[in-house]
Amino acid sequence: EDSLKDQPETPDNVLTAKARSTLLKHETEIPEDEAEPEQVVPNLLDLARYFADADVGLGEQEMFRIFLALKQLAEQQPLKSVTFWGKIFGTEQDYIIAEAEYREGEEPQPEEEERPDEQPETPDEGEEDEENGVTPLPKSTYKPPPDLPTEEYGAGTNKKVYFVCNEPGQEWHLLPNVKPKHISVCRQIRKRFTGRLDAPVVAYPPFAGTEMELLRAQIARITAGTHVSPVGYFTFDEEEDDGDDEARDNFIVDEEFEGKSLAELLEADLSGWVHHAPYILPQGRSKWVNPNLKGEEDELDEEDEDEDEEEEEEIEPEAGPPLLTPLQNDDDVDGLPAWSTRLSSTAHPAYACVRVSSNRWPGAHAFAVDRKFANIYIGDGLKYQAEPFSPQLPPPAQVEYSGEDVAEAVDPTRQEEEEFEAQMAEEE
């Protein structure tokens, strides 16, 4: 059977055109020119042209449509900044993803952490069985490990918010904050996107969510792995820094940044580039949290956490490379360097820009020239893997209850039974 339902002939492209026409606006009044108004949406067409010079991008027309869609998003939501994160290809539809930050004071309140997947031990269930005189079945005492708390908006993996739509002009959907367990499961499975946010994700180990959560988790992983910028563009905020180096997770744009020369950016060892997205620890968070801490105390302050440690057996806190680490100590991908650099123009290198492409996440690129740089991701949303993928095997079957009072004996054969009956007969 065909995989695409019959589209009515005419109205289809008209529907898309209608959706797009909402984007088109004709403003003739020029922005008053006192203070340069802080631009919410970057000049995407300009960035797209730098990327196009390096053979990366989606074509000027699509980029312009995305630019208009970003403007529309900036008008609908109280956002401080909106950028184009990238495009992820799906089998039925593609995803256009925008990365945004809320304005001060407009941040969404962290909704209460309800825990759907912990079975509440309600006492009443037990009594019913006793009444009808049947000894209750043994209840499973398995309690899944408590979920790690999700990082609030503005910190670690949820530093920014992500909106997604299938075609520029369609309605934007806000993706939920990413949960650590989503990231850890997402690292073990390998699923292609279909393009429908509500599509189920059938995989082992089971992914607790639909394609929407999978997409958000993959975005978090790609951002952490591939968002790079020329060294010196971002610097740590000196004043705020109270000497506590772990807390160095916010950085600011360095005004005096003069821009790196092409030669520095093209260094084979990539010393000219740094990561500016926090590394995601194996437990699925950027900032480590002690898993077997009681779930109740929500504020995780560093100090008292250490004292509790003695009671539980020692869990060595995971640590990843700190923020703004240069690229050269990214470990290799299948024996080859993690990043490859290209000069965008060979006819006249003086006017060229430098493109850096990730070999770990094919489709992730960044360009830099003078004081400009940008990141983009255009691909299937899958990590490069050297060995063929082999899914995790289910855990070994549980060992049967082998308590003392359940001795196993071999069934007597037919012939033994007859001797036994004969013996019983003689005793009478």
Binding site: D12, V56, A199, A386
Partner: protein
């Protein structure tokens, strides 16, 4: 993409991430014209790019309208082109065994162990290592990608009574509905799955048009993603076996084309990835 009609093809392929910088286009426009003249080819098409770690290989394909035969050329700078060698099927098989990425250096050597079972007294198997240069691997990759992904809309080519495969000039393009169905696209190669079709199925086929395998018979099922793009002005098919291959066709117009921009590696884990 045909070098003359490089730009309409690029407009439809760009939304799938396949773009060419102005500099590349100007170099291609000139160098492919010279290549076509030097090699006496009727048509030269920009086939796409295989991304190496250190450098990319631009691939162009020339044909003389004589059926499926094509000549492939590769270049690092879109100015100087070199012909890709013909690949013997045995060599192609061992090339398929090479994992890893292209390095970007044509003379890089890959070593492939092939166990050849010898009828000798011993345990009977000797490990034979063959070294393959990246250039040969490139030629094998291009041939393999063509074999599994080069498709054309049904009706674009026809088989003349003298068994010659010819471009059907009267081809006005698929209708809007037909363009959205996988059955209307066919592999542009010697038929393989067609031969194993039951006579009942073959009875329903039109000899002049259905002389190639339809991609709906490809295994694993759903290995082609098909979408209406750009306000349904074009249908885009993407191969999930060779990620990076994109084919486009604008319904009701004879325009269609394809390009490959990817790492040149086959995706063997599609079964796990499919939803």
């Amino acid at each position: 993409m045909d070098v003359q009609s490089l730009s309409p093809a690029l407009d439809h392929l760009s939304s799938s991430g396949i773009v060419l910088s102005t500099e590349r286009r100007v170099s291609l426009d000139t160098s492919l014209t010279l290549l076509m003249h030097a090699e006496k080819l009727k048509q030269v098409k920009y086939w796409g790019r295989i991304q190496g770690v250190a450098a990319d290989y631009h691939i162009a394909q020339g044909s003389n309208d004589d059926g499926y035969a094509t000549k492939s050329f590769y270049s690092m700078d879109c100015i100087r082109w070199a012909q890709l060698p013909e690949i013997h099927p045995v060599l192609a098989k061992s090339c398929a065994k090479i994992r890893g990425r292209f390095t970007g250096n044509p003379s890089h050597e890959f070593t492939v162990e092939a166990i050849r079972s010898e009828e000798t007294k011993g345990d009977g198997s000797i490990v034979v290592t063959t070294t393959i240069t990246e250039e040969k691997r490139l030629a094998a990759a291009v041939a393999a990608i063509d074999k599994e992904t080069r498709i054309v809309p049904r009706g674009a080519y026809r088989m003349t009574p003298s068994d010659v495969v010819e471009r059907n000039h009267g081809f006005g393009g698929l209708s809007h509905q037909a363009a959205g169905k996988i059955e209307s696209y066919m592999h542009f190669r010697q038929p393989i799955t067609l031969l194993s079709k039951s006579p009942l199925e073959r009875a329903r086929m039109d000899q002049g048009l259905d002389f190639m395998d339809s991609i709906s018979d490809d295994i694993p099922k759903n290995c082609w993603s098909i979408q209406y793009q750009n306000g349904s002005k074009a249908v885009v098919l993407r191969s999930l076996i060779w990620p990076g291959f994109v084919f486009f066709h604008t319904p009701n117009s004879p325009l269609f084309g394809h390009a490959y921009v990817g790492t040149g590696q086959r995706n063997n884990d599609l079964i796990f990835e499919l939803p």
